[in-house]
């Protein structure tokens, strides 16, 4: 590979518009200075270029492929739902840990105080709060942190399950909390982070999905979580062990998610590009649901493939629409 080509590759770290303006000039200077640099300095120069390029990408309004606003809308909606789910799970864990879950004390021997998914749930709650507080960058960073953590947990789970040597294997067996249904949630988290993308896309989505609507969806979800937390023990107290399954279902995330989703769907039906976002969310929601009642990995794989295809189609549809206002990722 020629040095000029190598430098052009490194300059890919910079935004496209910057490269169009500066790349040739920088390559010229890089080639001219190459002779007086040692091997170590060449590596440092490369690191410097990539670092400055990435920093510039983070500072500048994002650019690149035009995308449909529905992607951002779907991302913001999904992030709110995942935040509600995270809050519900944390609330349930606290309730269980404090012995307020209504189950017999003897069962508390099985209580798992440390759940490896707590950080994931906390980061999604942080994402939701950042959305409400209009902290776009924090929301995006937090969503990506949650998604990466969740993927890591899932990989550790998968690997420890089949007893392969793996650093995660040193941990207690509670790491293996996932299994294939968890894969559906991992997929949702990752999709949420991808859809949120960057602060610019998120700010465009938030312009359509007003803070008030986000607040309402979050508040309704938290209300649902509170109701579920009280209703689960009540069902168990009244019906006893015979209704254990029902009690578990009632205290689960179903009610808060349905309430939040209802508010979000009503909102998305009223805003431009909201229907496209709903289609994307529908495809995504199908993955964990289908994973529960069919060959799990096949369903998750099919959901991921459909989502990826929908994402690409949405991007290209947007690119082909010259009348649409500028929107850059």
């Amino acid at each position: 590979m020629s040095p000029a080509r190598r430098y052009r590759l490194l300059l890919l770290a910079y935004p496209r518009s910057y490269r169009a303006e500066r790349a040739e000039e920088m390559v010229d200077v890089l080639l001219a200075t190459e002779e007086r640099r040692g091997t170590r300095s060449v590596l440092l120069e490369a690191a410097s270029l990539v670092g400055h390029g990435v920093a510039l990408r983070l500072r500048r309004p994002a650019e690149g492929r035009p995308v449909a606003p529905s992607l951002g809308l779907a991302g913001a909606s999904l992030a709110i739902l995942l935040a509600v789910l995270g809050a519900q799970q944390l609330l349930a864990a606290a309730q269980r840990g404090l012995g307020l879950d209504g189950y017999p004390d003897a069962w508390r021997l099985d209580v798992v105080w440390v759940d490896p998914r707590w950080p994931v749930q906390l980061f999604w709650v942080t994402t939701g709060l950042a959305l409400l507080l209009r902290r776009n960058r924090l929301a995006v960073v937090s969503a990506w942190t949650a998604a990466v953590l969740h993927v890591w947990l899932f990989v550790v789970t998968a690997v420890t399950t089949v007893d392969l040597p793996w650093p995660g294997d040193v941990g207690p067996h509670w790491v293996a909390t996932g299994g294939t249904p968890q894969a559906g949630w991992v997929l949702l988290g990752l999709a949420g982070a991808v859809l949120l993308g960057g602060p610019v896309r998120l700010s465009r989505a938030r312009a359509a999905l007003t803070p008030r609507r986000c607040r309402t969806a979050g508040a309704v979800g938290l209300l649902g979580a509170g109701v579920a937390a009280c209703a689960g023990p009540a069902v168990y107290a009244v019906l006893g062990n015979a209704a254990l399954g029902l009690s578990d279902s009632v205290r689960g995330p179903g009610l808060p998610l349905v309430l939040s989703a209802t508010v979000l769907v009503r909102g998305l039906l009223r805003v431009p590009h909201g229907r496209g976002a709903l289609v994307l969310l529908g495809v995504l929601a199908a993955a964990p649901l289908a994973a529960r009642w069919s060959e799990p990995m096949t369903a998750v794989g099919a959901g991921a493939a459909t989502f990826a295809a929908g994402y690409v189609v949405a991007s290209w549809a947007r690119r082909a629409d010259p009348s649409a206002p500028p929107s850059r990722v």
């Binding site: 390559v27 010229d28 270029l49 670092g51 400055h52």
Partner: protein, 118 residues
């Protein structure tokens, strides 16, 4: 009171005071002005040039195509020269104060001449 300039910024502006320079010449001049102590990387140079251009301290003097590649020459603006002057005054004032305090310290030994100590 203006913010103190970072050293690379100060060196870039100082290097451009004499004449407009293109990227490579600017790197060499910065190294020369700093006595070989500061060797800017290309990424750092262009990040600084972008910032200085945005702040109006540096401007593009000319553009020419050399060996099929665009080469820009940069010059310091009046505001850039003022910023250097302000920085020089600030550093001179600091140096005066430091020197005065050094004089008040009786135990400070006279500095040996360069190369005089082994």
């Amino acid at each position: 009171m203006s913010k103190p300039l970072h050293e690379p910024t100060f060196l870039i502006l100082t290097a451009l005071l004499d004449e407009p320079l293109h990227g490579y010449a600017l790197l060499a001049e910065v190294e020369s002005v700093s006595g070989g102590r500061v060797r800017l990387r290309v990424g750092t140079l262009y990040a600084a040039l972008d910032r200085l251009t945005d702040e109006g301290l540096v401007a593009v003097e000319s553009e020419e195509v050399v060996s099929g590649r665009l080469r820009r020459t940069y010059r310091v603006t009046a505001a850039g020269a003022e910023a250097v002057a302000a920085e020089v005054d600030r550093m001179a004032a600091l140096a005066r104060k430091a020197r005065a305090r050094l004089r008040r310290r009786p135990q400070v030994a006279a500095r040996p001449a360069a190369g005089g100590v082994r």
